[in-house]
């Protein structure tokens, strides 16, 4: 099979699909956030991605490379989403392209590196650990699977990553929250899924779906 090459259009499509996903899942994410937060996760992501879509054509045409394009997306999310999700998701996209600057095409291996940089940004900024009941519970185990599954073909490898992230989000259900709004609930946060963990695997699944499109699945 030819090596997967991901060009600028791939990433533009990913962002467009993420925006569509966020609109579609807005109410679901808001419900999760109402249970253990303050009910605005879905709405705030929607605000951020709506602004991203407004500016998409401009930033696509102006960005000299993929890294800058994603950085611009990240800056918009940082500026418009607010709360914890703004710095965390904004930072993810801002840092994703750190090692692929100047490129307008990246390989699958480089995509893995981009996701790793994004996750590291989240870990640095949010300072959460696995078990705190946050998106880190999805991202950290997910990233490990992504990096370790060298025996799998790219699509399967990424699918395993998304599957692990989904499991990570499920794993937040019985946890007592140690961060964010949910932390105030203490024991009452038990039995509810963390909204940030849920949105995180859903956003990564968008990337998987676009990878599948390239190979014609």
């Amino acid at each position: 099979m030819a090596e997967l090459i991901l060009n600028r259009q791939f990433f533009v499509n990913v962002i467009k699909d993420m925006a569509e996903l966020v609109e579609k899942e807005k109410d679901h994410l808001t419900k999760l956030d109402s249970d253990i937060g303050d009910g605005d996760h879905g709405v705030n992501l929607s605000i951020g991605f709506r602004e991203t879509m407004k500016q998409l054509e401009l930033i696509t045409s102006q960005a000299p490379d993929i890294s800058s394009f994603l950085k611009k997306v990240g800056m918009i999310l940082l500026g418009k989403v607010g709360g914890s999700s703004g710095p965390l998701y904004g930072g993810f996209f801002i840092k994703a392209g750190a090692d692929v600057q100047g490129k307008d095409e990246v390989t699958f291996e480089e995509l893995i590196g981009m996701i790793e940089n994004g996750v590291n940004s989240i870990l640095q900024r949010g300072k959460a650990q696995v078990g705190d009941k946050t998106m880190v519970d999805a991202f950290v185990p997910g990233l490990k699977v992504l990096k370790d599954s060298t025996d799998l073909k790219p699509i399967e490898r990424f699918a395993a990553f998304v599957e692990q992230m989904k499991k990570g989000a499920e794993s937040t259900i019985p946890l007592v929250a140690k961060k964010g709004r949910a932390m105030r609930l203490g024991e009452r946060s038990v039995g509810h899924k963390d909204p940030g963990a849920e949105s995180s695997w859903m956003l990564m699944e968008v990337i998987l779906n676009n990878l599948k499109k390239i190979v014609g699945e």
Partner: protein, 331 residues
Amino acid sequence: MRRLINNGYDVVEEMLEGYTKAHPDYAKLLENDNRVVVSTRKSSEPKVGIIIGGGSGHEPLFLGYVGENFADAAVVGNVNTSPSPEPCYNAVKAVDQGKGCVYLYGNYAGDVMNFDMGAEMAAEDGIRVESIQVKDDVYSSENFDDRRGVAGDLFVFKAAAGAATLGADIDEVVRAAEKVNRMTYSMGVALSSSTLPATGEPIFEIEDGDMEIGMGIHGEPGVRRSKIQPADKVVDELLSYILEEGKFTSGNEVYVLVNGLGGLPLMDQYIMFRRVEQVLSEKGIKIYKSLVGNYATSMDMIGGSITLVKLDDEIKKLLDVPCDTPYLKIK
């Protein structure tokens, strides 16, 4: 849904437009950032910049305290959401007079992240910014450092602003604010949720006739859900937590705030205050001054909170420094 708005996604921008057009003698929006409200009454003597902020939906907190000798700027987030780093940074650029700035906001993870990023940006420009997270809600955590900031914000902000007005340097302002932070104790009760404008839905479910003591201003759960009790009983319970946590004793002097969360009638707030005064009097705790009203709301939430500040001469002096803003005037 019982709100009078236009499009739920436009509420913050429209609120800010209405506010700055209603009070142009106190505040305006920054030309280059429509999420920063700055005072139109700049002090003639350079002083430490006082910047407050957080999510919308708590009006008059925060923008209502921008004016003369109180907050120099307020940074405005989406409803119940911390503002982004850029307006935090722009606020510093707008108000810094060479003496540095202090960010003051309620202790919430999002606010900490975003204001910290704003401070990092300001540091790159050589401007020193210190940050204070208000931690007055006694029920929210046994650990002081994990407590959330609620109506007690008002006093910590005022103390910092008072110190800055009196010419204190940035370290002094921080010290004074942290001192009052540790002397301010609050607890609230909710009888309803608030309505999220973008969805038109309540943030959480609570039956008509139920209340939740200890609930936070974003609907963070409290002690328990129960049927609404008589006001005197509720006040007694809230005060019991506050008085114990603050280790109040006979002879103490306090500033009292009975705060409405937006949907609670003023009549009910004064009935609460009546009981506060009785209890404090019984315990030999002297009320220095009192405030009753909607100082830190949660939009249409029906509920209220009680704040006591344990006073000494220094704190009294700081809180008494005259100021003039649309929602707090001290002569």
